[in-house]
């Protein structure tokens, strides 16, 4: 018990929560935007892989860090555009297309990696984002290290969550996105293009997912490994459900989830880790996600037209 208390009062634990949560926040917001517009984006896992690769590769090739983020985002948006094209105007199964996009984006990243670095066994490192020094706050005892020792990309993640909430609930654009996810006929009857709104949401959302992936290679770590995304995309889908499709709650969910993840990593080093096999700790995030889905299952707040394709003229 004292070991857990030790973990909880260590500043590095709280810093780790923010770090672990960051990629989840980006990707969860991305998925949330897609789903609010009525499109389930199962391409998330692959798009994160591609973002992780593309951002890192771009920096390795000489671009500045933010340039890498932009490359990752553009790559994600390209896959989003493909996803959107197939699921929105063509109305194909969002399940099948999403899984297909995940396979495509993952394979594309791996193929490009092998093309770029044919014989490498240990991937090269880049200089990742460094913790951003915030005057005064970063110098606070304990708090400075716990909360204000993050990289700029983490803060960008929080900004993205805030922007998502603001746009969705405070602007005409957000109203249109939400309406497209509730009843596309209502959107069309008010003179807006359902196709454009949904495509736009999927493209922007996919861009955010890719930045989430890029966080892994450009802020959390400094190189690209196969399997490094490791189901985070699927976890983000669970987080969207957990957050009841609301950015604020989803953000809290991501932080909560990261808290458990940070805890399990640290528990592995304690006496508990001697007794319990490490695989049990590693299972915790996935099991928690399933539990989150079960806990939220009774809530009927899902966008009414989620996964319902809209074909102009069907009425």
């Amino acid at each position: 018990m004292t070991e857990i208390a030790d973990i909880l009062i260590s500043a590095s634990f709280w810093a780790a929560i923010l770090r672990i949560a960051s990629p989840l926040i980006f990707a969860t917001m991305g998925e949330l935007i897609c789903e609010r517009a009525g499109v389930l984006n199962l391409g998330i896992e692959g798009i994160m892989v591609f973002g992780a690769f593309a951002g890192w590769m771009a920096v390795y090739a000489g671009l500045p860090l933010w340039g890498g983020v932009a490359v990752a985002m553009l790559g994600g948006m390209a896959f989003g555009a493909l996803h959107g094209l197939l699921t929105v105007p063509f109305g194909l199964s969002q399940h099948v297309v999403g899984l297909g996009i995940t396979m495509l984006a993952t394979a594309a990243a791996y193929y490009a990696y092998r093309l770029a670095l044919p014989q490498v066994t240990n991937p090269p490192r880049i200089t990742p984002f460094q913790p951003l020094h915030i005057p005064v706050l970063s110098n606070l005892p304990w708090l400075g290290q716990a909360l204000f020792s993050q990289t700029a990309l983490t803060w960008a993640g929080f900004a993205a969550a805030g922007a998502t909430a603001l746009v969705l609930f405070r602007t005409p654009l957000g109203l249109a996105v939400r309406a497209a996810g509730e009843n596309p006929q209502a959107v069309e009857a008010q003179g807006l293009s359902v196709t454009a709104i949904r495509m736009g949401a999927v493209i922007v959302g996919s861009g955010l997912m890719a930045v989430g992936g890029a966080f892994l290679t450009m802020s959390a770590f400094s190189s690209f490994f196969f399997e490094m995304v490791n189901g985070r995309g699927w976890i983000c889908i669970a987080l969207v459900v957990f957050g009841a499709w609301k950015p604020g709650k989803a953000l809290l969910g991501a932080l909560l989830f990261a808290g458990f993840d940070a805890l399990q990593i640290r528990l592995q080093q304690t006496g508990l880790g001697q007794v319990v096999p490490y695989q049990v700790f590693l299972m915790i995030p996935y099991l928690l996600s399933i539990l989150a889905l079960i806990a939220m299952s009774r809530r009927a707040e899902v966008p009414a037209a989620l996964m319902t394709p809209f074909n102009r003229g069907d009425r």
Binding site: A107, G231, V280, S297
Partner: protein, 348 residues
């Protein structure tokens, strides 16, 4: 643009879009090969030769196709009922685990052990899918995410067993299970040829699934529930029960992939027993349009690409991941092509 259904599609309508999809996939492959600095035609040649160019290659392809037939059938059965089982990977490992447990721990004679291993595998796989399906039918929890997440849980569970209780003491420290005794392995179909009866079982399963879907009430119910659950429920079809039966069938089929890989090919369980066979099963099933007999052909095709790409990449400097890329493209092009056989795109 909008889509307008075609009442009676012509032959050209049904054939041209899929043909274009295939051509487009090949074009992408050529482009990818060119990106790697290889000659596209030569690359194709090497892939085909590597997959079917020799007796050895062809047998390798058949072996590689075997688990894909099982996982492809598992996905086809489930998707037909619109049950999104993305967890064939976990069910495969559950089946493989049960196979190893029964085969190595009970000390049964081969003729008794083999059927028991298969049965145990089927039950284990069915059980793994039962959880997500009950969550879906009872609580409305989306099975896509739960089955996906269970894949990771199962992988960690297997890893734990192989490093702990199930670790082979003779394994020189490698995380692998003890091997099945000789007589608990699936025999070869033809002596001297490296092709085991797992492939035969796969063909039998394909025929069985086809029979179930077209001739039995269960198959009719599965199709009805998949095509329109609301109408099925109204008509009196017990939707929940049908979904549970579908899950048992699907999970069991996926588990047989694990059984067949362990008992027919590898002899033991390792964490890399499956080369993503569970996920690839989705591509196999979709390319087969969920038709059970089509699954066999599509599994051969997919296996051929993988085996061929492996062999090709040793000769030319094209990464093997070209196979994964190709299949993802083939999947996306094909679902679009199939749509275009039934709908025409019209303006406004």
């Amino acid at each position: 643009m909008r889509l307008e259904p075609i009442a009676a599609p012509s032959h050209a309508r049904t054939l041209v879009p899929p043909a274009i999809a295939i051509a487009a996939t090949i074009a992408v492959a050529g482009l990818l090969a060119a990106l790697a600095g290889a000659n596209p035609l030569q690359t194709f040649g090497l892939i085909v030769k590597g997959a079917f160019g020799s007796k050895f290659a062809a047998l390798e392809t058949l072996n590689r196709a075997t688990p894909l037939v099982f996982t492809g059938l598992a996905v086809a059965v489930a998707f037909r009922a619109r049950l999104w089982n993305i967890g064939a990977e976990a069910q495969l490992y559950a089946g493989a685990l049960m196979t190893v447990l029964i085969g190595t721990q009970l000390g049964l004679p081969g003729p008794l052990a083999i059927p028991l291993m298969a049965l145990g595998a089927v039950m284990a796989g069915a059980l793994v899918l039962l959880g997500p399906v009950l969550l879906k039918t009872r609580l409305g929890v989306d099975e896509v995410v739960t089955t996906l997440l269970l894949n990771f849980v199962m992988a960690l569970f297997i890893s734990y067993l192989l490093e702990g209780p199930l670790k082979d003491p003779m394994g020189m420290g490698w995380p692998k299970s003890p091997s099945l005794p000789r007589d608990a392995r699936l025999p070869r179909i033809v002596d001297g040829l490296r092709l085991h009866w797992g492939f035969g079982l796969a063909l039998i399963c394909a025929a069985g699934v086809w029979l179930i879907q077209t001739r039995t009430t269960l198959g009719y119910e599965i199709r009805a529930v998949g095509a329109n659950p609301q109408a099925a429920r109204f008509a009196g079809i017990p939707v929940t029960r049908v979904l549970v039966k579908t899950a048992l069938l699907s999970g069991g089929l996926a588990a047989l992939a694990g059984f067949s890989e362990v008992a027919g090919l590898k002899g033991n369980l390792t964490t890399d027993l499956s080369a993503s066979f569970g996920y690839t099963g989705i591509v196999v099933a979709m390319l087969a349009l969920l038709h059970p007999m089509g699954v066999v052909i599509s599994a051969l095709f997919v296996a051929g690409i993988f085996v061929g790409a492996d062999s090709m990449s040793r000769a030319a400097q094209v990464p093997t991941y070209i196979a994964d890329l190709l299949l993802a493209c083939a999947l996306l092009f094909m679902v679009l092509a199939i749509l275009l056989t039934r709908f025409r795109v019209v303006r406004g």
